[in-house]
C-alpha cells in the first residue's frame, strides 16, 4: 500500500490512467468532500456577496460575519420534517434528487485540477462531462412529474426544455474549442480534459485568445449557455419564485430540497470547470507563454500563500474592528482563530513553495506543483462563481419564449458560425 501510495506522487499520470486504485479512491473522497465544502462556502459567499450588492449585510449572527451560517442552514434542513405529498409518486419523488446529485458529482471524475491531479483522464473526457451533466435534466423532469402538482410540472417542463435547447449551443461551442486542440503537428485533436489543457500549453495560448475573436465568441456563448444549463439567473425560469413559486422543487422540503441545492451548486462548479479547462488554460497560471522563466514560476508559486495570507489579514482586521462590547467576545475570538488558521495555512503553503522551488522530482517540488495547479484552477473557477452571483444581482429574469428565442435564434446560429469559421481558419492556418 505504501508503495502504491508513494508511487503516485512520482507519477506523471492521473491515478485513473495509472491504474492506481488507492489514489483514485482518495481523489474521489477528496473531491467529494471538497465540492461539498465548496458548495457550503459558496452558499455563504452568495448570501454575503448578494447582500453587499444589495446594500445590506447578509448573515451576521451565526458565527462571526455569519461564517457558521451554512452549517446552521444545513442543520436546519436536516432536522426539518421530510414531507412527501400524499399524491406524489413515492419512489420517483425519492429518486429524483439523487439523480440530479449523482449527475452533478459524477462529472468531477474527469475534472483536471492538474496534469495528474484528477481522478481519471478519460479519452472522451469532455464528451463524458457533457453527457453526464445532461443527465441532470432527468432529475429535474422526474422531480417535477413526481410531485404531481401543476407548478412543479410546468417548472420541470420549462427547465428541461431550456436545458436541452441550450445544450446544443453549448456543445457546438465546445466543439469549436476541441477543434483548436487539433492544430498541432499530428493534426489530431483530443477530447480528454487533460489533453485539452496540454494542447493549450503546447500552443502557448489560452483558447479564449486563439484566433481572436473566435475563441472569445465561443467562450462567451458557452458562458451564457452554462448559466442557462444550470438554471441560474437570469435563466432561472424553472424556479422562478415570482411565477412558479419554486418550480420543480416546490413540493420538496428539508433534506431532499437541500440535495437539489447541492446538485445545483455542484453543477455550477462543474460547468465552470469545463469553461476553465477549455478556454482559460485549466491549471496554467496567467501568461504561460511569456512568463515561463523559473523566476516567474517561483513568483507564481507564491500566490497561494499570498492569497491565504491576504485572507488571514482581512480576517484579523475584521476581528480587530469588531465593536468592543462584551457581546462580541466570542465572535471576535472565533474570527481571530479563523484568521490564525488561515495564517497557518498560508505559512504552510509558503514553506512548501520555498522548499519545492527547484523544479526537480523531489516530493516537495511535486507537492508545490500540485498546489499551484489546483490553486490556479480553483481560482479561475471561483471567478466564475463570483460571476454567477453577480448575474443574479443584476439582471431580471427572461421570459420563457424570449429564452427559447435567444437559445435557438441567437446562440445556436452564432455558435454554428463560429464552429464553421474556426474550422476554416484552422485549415487555412495549417
Amino acid at each position: 500500500m505504501l508503495t502504491s501510495f508513494m508511487s503516485y506522487l512520482g507519477s506523471q499520470f492521473s491515478p485513473g490512467v495509472a491504474g492506481n486504485q488507492l489514489w483514485a479512491l482518495i481523489y474521489i473522497l477528496i473531491i467529494f468532500a471538497g465540492v461539498s465544502v465548496a458548495v457550503i462556502a459558496m452558499n455563504w459567499l452568495e448570501r454575503k456577496a448578494l447582500a453587499h450588492f444589495q446594500v445590506r449585510l447578509g448573515p451576521m449572527r451565526v458565527g462571526p460575519h455569519g461564517l457558521l451560517q451554512p452549517i446552521a442552514d444545513a442543520l436546519k434542513l436536516l432536522l426539518k420534517e421530510d414531507i412527501i405529498p400524499a399524491e406524489a409518486d413515492q419512489v420517483v419523488f425519492w429518486v429524483a434528487p439523487l439523480i440530479g446529485l449523482l449527475a452533478a458529482f459524477t462529472v468531477y471524475t474527469v475534472v483536471p485540477f492538474g496534469p495528474s491531479q484528477a481522478v481519471s483522464d478519460m479519452n472522451i473526457g469532455i464528451l463524458f462531462m457533457l453527457g453526464v451533466s445532461s443527465l441532470g435534466v432527468l432529475g429535474i423532469v422526474t422531480a417535477g412529474w413526481a410531485s404531481n402538482s401543476h407548478y412543479p410540472l410546468i417548472g420541470a417542463l420549462r427547465s428541461s426544455a431550456q436545458m436541452v435547447s441550450y445544450e446544443v449551443a453549448m456543445g457546438l461551442a465546445v466543439v469549436s474549442a476541441i477543434l483548436m486542440t487539433s492544430l498541432n503537428e499530428s493534426g489530431t485533436g483530443t477530447l480528454s480534459m487533460i489533453g485539452i489543457v496540454q494542447a493549450q500549453q503546447q500552443q502557448g495560448i489560452w483558447f479564449i485568445f486563439k484566433f481572436f475573436p473566435l475563441g472569445l465568441i465561443a467562450f462567451v456563448i458557452f458562458a451564457i449557455a452554462m448559466v442557462a444549463e444550470t438554471n441560474r439567473a437570469p435563466f432561472d425560469l424553472a424556479e422562478a419564485e415570482s411565477e412558479l413559486t419554486a418550480g420543480f422543487h416546490t413540493e420538496y422540503s428539508g433534506l431532499r430540497w437541500s440535495l437539489f441545492m447541492l446538485a445545483e451548486y455542484a453543477a455550477m462548479i462543474a460547468v465552470s470547470s469545463i469553461a476553465v479547462t477549455l478556454w482559460l488554460g485549466g491549471w496554467m497560471h496567467p501568461f504561460p507563454n511569456l512568463l515561463s522563466a523559473p523566476a516567474w514560476e517561483f513568483i507564481f508559486s507564491l500566490f497561494p500563500a499570498l492569497t491565504f495570507g491576504g485572507l488571514a489579514a482581512i480576517a484579523f482586521l475584521g476581528a480587530a474592528r469588531m465593536p468592543g462590547h462584551s457581546f462580541f467576545k466570542i465572535q471576535r475570538a472565533g474570527l481571530a482563530v479563523f484568521a490564525a488558521l488561515l495564517g497557518v495555512l498560508a505559512l504552510l503553503l509558503l514553506v512548501v513553495a520555498i522548499a519545492g522551488r527547484h523544479a526537480d522530482t523531489s516530493i516537495a517540488a511535486r507537492f508545490r506543483e500540485g498546489i499551484d495547479y489546483v490553486y490556479w484552477f480553483v481560482l479561475k473557477v471561483a471567478v466564475f462563481m463570483y460571476l454567477f452571483i453577480w448575474y443574479r444581482a443584476t439582471w431580471p429574469r427572461y421570459r420563457f419564449d424570449q429564452l427559447m428565442k435567444v437559445g435557438w435564434k441567437v446562440m445556436l446560429p452564432i455558435s454554428l458560425g463560429v464552429l464553421i469559421v474556426t474550422a476554416i481558419v484552422g485549415v487555412l492556418v495549417k
Binding site: V17, V92, N123, I124, L127, L138, A146
Partner: protein, 183 residues
C-alpha cells in the same frame, strides 16, 4: 503517451453492470407506470454504457450517455408526461396474445443459446480450425478510439454518415409535423 488503462476487477464489474442492465430490462417490461419503466430503461442504458467502456469503446459509451440517456429518454419522459397515464395505469397491462409473445421470445432465447453453445464447440472454422468466437486478441488502443472512429465515419462510412444525417433531418421534420397541434 499515456499508458493503456488496465482493466480492474473485470469480472466483478461485468457481472455488476450486466446484472443492472438485465434487472433494468425486466423492470422496463413489467412496470405499470411508464415513468418507472423509463427510469429503469435509463439504468439499463447506463449499465450498457459501462459495458461499452469495458469493451474499450469509450466513444460509443459517451454517445450512448449523451444521445440515449440525455436525449432520447428525456424525450420519452416528456411524452409520458404529456399523455396522461392515470387511466392506463389501472388498465390491463398485457395484451391478449401475451402467452404467444412470451413463447416466441423464449424460442428466440433458445435459438440464441443453442447458437452460442454450438458456436463455442461445433461451428469452428473448418479451414483454420479457429472457433467462431475467438477471444479478443488484438487490443484496441482506446486512447485514440475517438479519432479512429472519426476517421472511419468521414472516410469509409461517408455515405452512411451523410444518409444518417439526412435521416435525422427527415425525422426532425416528421416529428415536428406530426406533433403539431393542427396539421
Amino acid at each position: 503517451m499515456t499508458p493503456e488503462m488496465t482493466p480492474v476487477a473485470t469480472p466483478f464489474f461485468f457481472y455488476l453492470l450486466s446484472g443492472l442492465a438485465i434487472i433494468g430490462g425486466v423492470l422496463v417490461i413489467t412496470r405499470r407506470n411508464a415513468v418507472h419503466s423509463a427510469l429503469a430503461l435509463i439504468v439499463t442504458l447506463l449499465a450498457v454504457s459501462g459495458l461499452y467502456l469495458m469493451l474499450y469503446a469509450p466513444f460509443v459509451a459517451g454517445v450512448q450517455i449523451i444521445v440515449y440517456a440525455g436525449g432520447i429518454m428525456v424525450l420519452f419522459l416528456f411524452v409520458i408526461m404529456l399523455v396522461n397515464i392515470e387511466r392506463t395505469v389501472k388498465e390491463r397491462q398485457f395484451n391478449r396474445i401475451w402467452p404467444a409473445g412470451v413463447l416466441a421470445a423464449a424460442a428466440l432465447l433458445g435459438l440464441f443459446v443453442s447458437v452460442y453453445v454450438k458456436g463455442k464447440t461445433l461451428l469452428s472454422d473448418p479451414v483454420t480450425g479457429k472457433p467462431l468466437w475467438p477471444d479478443p486478441t488484438i487490443s484496441l488502443p482506446d486512447s485514440s478510439n475517438t479519432q479512429q472512429i472519426g476517421v472511419m465515419l468521414y472516410g469509409n462510412y461517408m455515405f452512411a454518415f451523410e444518409i444518417a444525417s439526412l435521416l435525422l433531418l427527415v425525422a426532425i421534420l416528421g416529428a415536428v409535423i406530426m406533433a403539431k397541434k393542427r396539421i
